[in-house]
């Protein structure tokens, strides 16, 4: 395996992805990620310097909406999705101290 994932990297990726991994899972994830990077590295074998980066897989562009209000108040339906709610709002753990 050409790509070795360090403990620091797996720790950092865990923080970014909001995952708590056990030591055993971390070891497994390190191996998996290394293999994924090896696989992706194959792309580097190609010279793409003359190829325009692709920004979308479909050959479609300029899909627009006109600026017209179509949605009415649907607060009750929307708030059904809130884990907790209060006063018509989504309730979340306090974000400042």
């Amino acid at each position: 395996m050409a790509n070795i994932i360090s403990d620091e990297t797996i720790e950092y990726v865990g923080i970014l992805s909001k995952l708590e991994l056990s030591d055993q899972e971390k070891e497994q994830a390190k191996k998996d990620m290394g293999r994924m990077l090896d696989y992706i590295d194959m792309l580097n074998e190609l010279d793409t310097s003359q190829v325009e980066p692709m920004s979308h897989v479909f050959p479609v562009h300029n899909v627009f909406r006109e600026d017209v209000v179509v949605n009415q108040d649907q607060r009750d339906e929307i708030l059904v999705n809130a884990p907790e709610q209060k006063d018509g709002q989504f309730q979340v753990p306090k974000t400042v101290e």
């Binding site: 300029n62 627009f64 909406r65 949605n71």
Partner: protein, 478 residues
């Protein structure tokens, strides 16, 4: 010898666009609705929902870019900026990193040393976040997603400004351009225009930049000026003390007049941008750019030139009137109706600005129809009402947009210039104030002022002062 420092400032300005709907869904952008009543699966980040771009957002962004002398990226696209914070239910903000719609422009500002160009690095389109309210009692935060998905443009300047004055001049310039384009009302207090200040200091003459900090939470021009002064001093103190400036985001507290480092969002500043697969690229044709250009309205600089040629008003007045699109619109419409530009200008420059200041409002808040101002000027000119009454009526126009003609009728405010009626009142006043009459006859011409005042009082302010003066003199000279 004390070292001399130079402040280097660049700005990131967010402007909420004046579209009727959000950037990626058909929810209303109206300000001040009940929490979460302007939301849908798209702007609350529900799985499976798909964003569709509002065409008007692209057109406003192009219009602002072209007015700020920018180049347009004719192929642009959207990227995801990933972060975890409950104001953003998708856990990413849709923004533009790699190919922002506008780049490499400039605007010109007036400084103490003459004109100066401030470079625009780029302008990109993105979505606003929701609003968090922190509940002090229940140890939780509440989220309102009405603002989530409201379209923003972020205008990133080059680090070209050197003082608070230059920053204010730049912001004022941007605000005027954007208001003239109708792309936003740019109200700092309501947050439809927000500025983040990137600031560093360096020794004068140095050509490398110092370490910069970013300051947020600046919601008035005054706060911005104070924050710049405060941060400049803080950084110089650190350097003089032999310490280093730390690159960080700081929050300005305008009440305490100091800034402190922000805690939130700080430990994972890795946004992992990547192209948003839900949105297809935007291709902007030459024709589309030409079309936007042809629809650009007259901007301030051109308007100012035209006012100087077209209307007989002082340069200073023309500058103030054109400083706000709203003021200029009222001025032109009103002048077109009554054909008295100078009088319209005087009312706006005098009473309108006085009342705005008194109510702590901005010209964009003016809410009366130009017709009513024109009618008022007509009434005052014909002598139907006197000056004092006219000012009272103007206050009513200002606050309630009343029809002055009707109002004057209904409240019996017409001036009394009927000679007979006035003369009998004046004769009574003269008889009741022998001392003033004696003073007047003894050469104290000023004593007439008191008698005019008494007459106006007796007439409840509705007499025509010209007529009062004339008749009083006649009576006194008898």
């Amino acid at each position: 010898m004390a070292r001399e420092y130079e402040t280097v400032i660049g700005l990131e300005v967010h402007v909420e666009l004046a579209t009727k709907t959000k950037i990626f869904c058909g929810c209303s952008t109206e300000f001040g609705g009940e929490p979460n009543t302007h939301t849908c699966p798209v702007c609350t980040g529900m799985p499976g929902s798909l964003p569709v771009l509002n065409k008007q957002v692209v057109e406003y962004a192009m219009a602002v870019g072209l007015a700020a002398n920018c180049q347009i990226h004719q192929k642009c696209k959207f990227d995801r900026k990933n972060y975890f914070y409950p104001d953003n239910p998708q856990n990413y903000q849709i923004s533009q990193l790699y190919l922002p719609i506008c780049h490499d422009g400039w605007v010109e500002i007036e400084t103490e040393d003459g004109k100066k160009k401030v470079g625009i690095h780029e302008i990109h389109m993105e979505e606003d976040a929701g609003k968090l309210i922190h509940d002090d009692w229940e140890d939780c935060s509440l989220v309102d997603y009405n603002r989530s998905g409201v379209p923003l443009i972020e205008i990133v300047s080059e680090p070209d400004m050197r003082s608070a004055q230059e920053v204010i001049a730049y912001l004022d310039k941007l605000r005027t351009i954007i208001q003239y384009l109708g792309a936003s009302d740019c109200k700092l207090q309501e947050g439809s225009m927000r500025a983040d200040v990137n600031l560093s200091v360096r020794e004068k003459g140095s050509d490398t930049f110092g370490t910069r900090t970013e300051m947020k939470n600046l919601n008035s021009f005054k706060a911005i000026a104070r924050a710049i002064e405060g941060e400049r001093e803080r950084q110089i103190d650190l350097l003089e003390d032999g310490q280093a400036v730390v690159q960080e985001t700081r929050r300005w507290d305008d009440n305490k007049e100091c800034s402190y480092p922000m805690r939130s969002k700080e430990d994972a500043q890795d946004y992992r941008y990547f192209p948003d697969p839900d949105l297809v690229p935007v291709i902007i044709s030459d024709e589309w750019i030409a079309d936007i250009k042809s629809r650009q309205p007259e901007l301030r600089t051109e308007k100012l030139e035209r006012y100087k040629k077209e209307f007989d008003i002082p340069q200073y007045d023309a500058e103030i009137l054109t400083s706000s699109k709203k003021l200029a619109d009222i001025f032109e419409a009103s002048a077109a109706i009554c054909q008295k530009p100078k009088k319209v200008s005087n009312w706006l420059m005098g009473e309108a600005l006085r009342l705005l200041k008194e109510h702590n409002q901005e010209p964009e808040d003016l809410n009366f129809s130009p017709e009513n101002l024109a009618k008022l000027i007509q009434l005052a000119d014909e002598g139907t009402i006197n000056n004092k009454v006219a000012k009272e009526v103007f206050e009513k126009i200002y606050s309630e947009n009343i029809d002055p003609k009707q109002y004057v009728e209904e409240h019996g405010l017409k001036s009394v210039s009927d000679e007979g009626a006035l003369r009998s009142v004046i004769e009574e006043i003269v008889a009741a104030n022998p001392q003033s009459v004696e003073d007047y006859k003894g050469g104290k011409k000023k004593a007439i002022g008191f008698l005019v005042g008494q007459t106006m009082k007796a007439m409840k302010g509705k007499a025509d002062p010209g007529a009062v003066n004339k008749i009083l003199q006649e009576v006194l000279e008898k």
